[in-house]
């Protein structure tokens, strides 16, 4: 099992970091967060065509690059660090992994290369984004693949070019595809506190779907682990950036004739935050290494999601507190991070749900042993 990133992975990280430093500056983030679609098509095609990022983690036989959760994690960490606005998580990560995990061979051959190339911006519709056990309660498919029901939150639902949908079938769960322009599809944009990630509500009324594959319960949990670990990487990237910026702020802000970062109360808080980050990072990277090594049903994906969320949220709270008055204004950027942290915290399951899953896995392992 890997313990640290390899040389190649470190180099890859540098390339990715440079790209997002250039293309996801805070002015760009501000500008995009005010738009309806929330992303820059030029940057999207550049990251797709020049760097090929959407296909990083997808299998080579379906147009991907055949790397794994660690390389994908590197990308998301850098996206998190620069608060990247765009449909990478919804299309490449959620829809891409869903199709790779659940799609039939024909569906993968036909659809996956476009997602991998970034030429189709798809999104995955789950009628619940809190817990895998709740998926399939709201959207139902009949024998003919006609879909009815509602998904309250669809990431990038307003701008996606294709919907992949997990729906309850007479027996089990299935994966379906729909075009946003299909009859019976109603898309309502929703305003999220997180202006850097757009969401929509999707209502389906007898909408004719194309069946792409079956979703088993175990498969859904494994898929959930993959996307949770990806999201955890985004969170530690964001948390690292916040720590860095907050520490710099306390070095430059003077009160009582000295930098506020010289006061012990702030020093100790920053030291605590650093440790929380180091440990969340270790948990997240290890979760990626485990998935890359093919280890299934370990506690690490849930642990990574829980720790990264707690860390990011703590960091965002501190980032506001340590900036004093300016920290809770609209003008300062901190609120953008604070809101992203909150959405990431609950998306795919809040920390308490992750901890419950960990305990179940641990106790099951003990019972077996």
């Amino acid at each position: 099992m890997q313990a640290v990133l390899s040389e190649d992975q470190m180099q890859f990280k540098q390339v990715i970091a440079r790209f997002f430093d250039t293309h996801s500056t805070m002015p760009a983030v501000r500008r995009l967060s005010e738009t309806e679609t929330g992303f820059d098509p030029v940057v999207w095609s550049e990251l797709s065509e020049t760097l090929g990022l959407p296909g990083t983690h997808l299998p080579e036989e379906y147009g991907g690059h055949g790397f794994g959760p660690t390389e994908l994690g590197i990308i998301l960490e850098e996206m998190g660090r620069t608060l990247y606005c765009g449909p990478f998580f919804s299309s490449a990560v959620m829809a891409g992994y869903a199709l790779a995990c659940f799609g039939d061979e024909a569906a993968k051959i036909e659809k996956l290369p476009q997602i991998a190339a970034g030429t189709t911006r798809a999104t995955l519709v789950l009628d619940d984004l809190n817990h895998p056990s709740k998926v399939g309660r709201l959207i139902k498919a009949n024998q003919a693949g006609v879909l009815t029901g509602t998904a309250p939150i669809v990431l990038d639902g307003g701008s996606a070019q294709a919907f992949l949908i997990v729906a309850r079938e007479p027996a089990g769960l299935g994966l379906f595809e729909l075009s946003p322009t299909s009859p019976g599809v109603e898309i309502t944009l929703q305003e999220s506190i997180d202006m850097t990630r757009k969401i929509a509500r999707l209502t389906l009324q007898s909408a004719p779907g194309l069946r792409l594959g079956s979703v088993t319960e175990q498969g859904l949990y494994q898929f959930w682990d993959l996307i949770s670990v990806a999201l955890a990487h985004e969170m530690i990237g964001g948390a690292a950036r916040l720590l860095n910026d907050t520490v710099e702020y306390t070095k430059g802000r003077y009160q009582f004739g000295r930098p506020i970062g010289s006061f012990q109360a702030l020093k100790h808080r920053c030291a605590d935050l650093l440790m929380s980050l180091e440990f969340a990072k270790a948990a997240t990277h290890h979760a990626g290494f485990c998935l890359a090594a093919g280890e299934e049903t370990t506690i690490y994906p849930s642990m990574a999601k829980a720790m990264a969320a707690d860390c990011f949220m703590d960091m965002a709270r501190a980032a506001i507190q340590l900036r004093g008055g300016i920290g809770f204004t609209w003008e300062d950027d901190t609120h953008l991070w604070f809101k992203r942290a909150k959405c990431d915290e609950v998306l795919l399951g809040a920390p308490y749900q992750q901890r419950a899953r960990m305990m179940d896995i641990l106790q099951e392992a003990q019972d077996v042993a």
Partner: protein
């Protein structure tokens, strides 16, 4: 894995199986090197056979009593020891703290005089650092040493000297230039404990045990040849030793898992405590959550150690990051004791009584004793200062 390493593993495995006596396996006594304590025959035999191979301090050079093993070989050795449940043959401040410091700063004759003796378990060492007036502000120490001919004559008082009552030698920070700025007038000396100028008085602690002492130095003698480094330049050496101390406490560096501090490797104990005390279904959910929160931190701590361990292997020496391990490792250990004590409920308040099992009383004593871990070796607050300054670059 290379063939040579695999050959080393097989050879080590055979030797350990043949030479580790039954009394040195499983939980039990570990030799401290003290000449003032008596040990079980198997403990002594195990120490002697390991010392003969240089395996009490496997990575030290052979000339100083070690075996000159590489880090990979040392890990193999410890893995094989673990496989047969062998205890470490020798643990004390000589092997963990003074030895590595002397290897770095000692003169050739000091290394030859002290290191082989440490490696053989022929002397236990104690640490003369803290004083009643110099705790977190260690550099404020006032114990004075005056050079007279070939000897330093030392007057002052040390406190929190762990194991002083059984120690044979002390490494000691003394003030040799009272006029200089406080960090620049300190020297690092070694002195024998068995001499008229040294008096040791144990301190009874919150848990009832007395692992720490007050040590009074009234005209105690240290030979000039036992001055480590240069006169008045002992502060840097003293601080370096603290990094070795913290990395030991934080579990960095190669060591069999069992020898690491409490709270660092124990993952299965908490579910055991849960199974015993969390029997009421109505309370189970909150008890589970409390335990899993601790477990998460513990696992993440281990993973971070593994990562940093890899970085140490790649050639970086443990630096300011050791403060992170000391701080977090101490908090984890303490929190685990507190959580166990909480889960035990009223079964966790017995000092010595018939209504409590030996285990429960042991857990309660450990909980009491755990108040010390966030204080000794530099308080958590001092560690946080070091992290803020050295890692984050925050100003004074």
């Amino acid at each position: 894995m290379t063939e040579a390493l695999e050959a080393f593993r097989l050879e080590t495995r055979d030797w350990l199986r043949a030479n580790c006596p039954p009394g040195a396996r499983g939980p039990g006594e570990i030799h401290s090197g003290s000449t003032k304590l008596s040990f079980q025959p198997d403990t002594i035999a195990w120490l002697e056979s390991m010392a003969d191979r240089g395996w009490t301090v496997p990575m030290w050079p052979e000339a100083y009593g070690g075996a000159g093993l590489t880090l990979e070989q040392t890990q193999v050795l410890y893995q094989e020891m673990q496989a047969i449940d062998a205890r470490l043959p020798l643990v004390n401040m000589g092997t963990r703290m003074l030895g590595p410091t002397l290897l770095e700063y000692g003169s050739e004759s000091q290394k030859l005089r002290h290191l082989p003796l440490i490696a053989r378990g022929g002397a236990a060492w104690c640490q003369g650092y803290s004083e009643p007036g110099a705790g977190s502000d260690l550099a404020g120490l006032t114990t004075k040493a005056v050079l007279s001919g070939d000897q330093f004559v030392i007057h002052g008082q040390k406190i929190w000297t762990s194991g002083a009552q059984n120690a044979d030698w002390m490494f000691c920070l003394v003030r040799t230039d009272p006029e200089a700025p406080k960090h620049q007038g300190i020297s690092f000396v070694l002195l024998p404990m068995d001499q008229p100028g040294v008096t040791v008085k144990p301190i009874r602690l919150i848990s009832g045990s007395s692992p720490f002492c007050e040590t009074f130095l009234d005209g105690a003698i240290a030979e000039k040849s036992d001055l480590v480094g240069r006169l008045n330049e002992g502060w840097a050496i003293g601080k370096r030793l603290l990094q070795h101390e913290r990395s030991g406490q934080g579990g960095l560096g190669p060591a069999p898992a069992r020898s690491r501090p409490v709270g660092v490797t124990i993952d299965l104990e908490m579910p055991e405590v849960l199974n015993r005390y969390a029997t009421d279904p109505a309370q189970k959910a909150s008890q589970r959550d409390a335990v899993i929160r601790w477990q998460m931190r513990s696992r993440a701590f281990q993973l971070t150690q593994a990562r940093m361990g890899q970085e140490v292997r790649d050639g970086k020496t443990p630096g300011a990051a050791t403060s992170m391990f000391k701080l977090y490792g101490a908090s984890l250990a303490q929190d685990k004791q507190s959580l166990t004590a909480e889960l035990m409920g009223t079964q966790g308040i017995g000092w010595e009584a018939a209504g409590f099992t030996e285990e429960e009383i042991g857990a309660t004593r450990s909980w009491l004793a755990s108040r010390a871990v966030t204080i000794y070796g530099g308080t958590n607050e001092v560690q946080a200062n070091i992290i803020a300054k050295r890692v984050l670059g925050l100003p004074d």
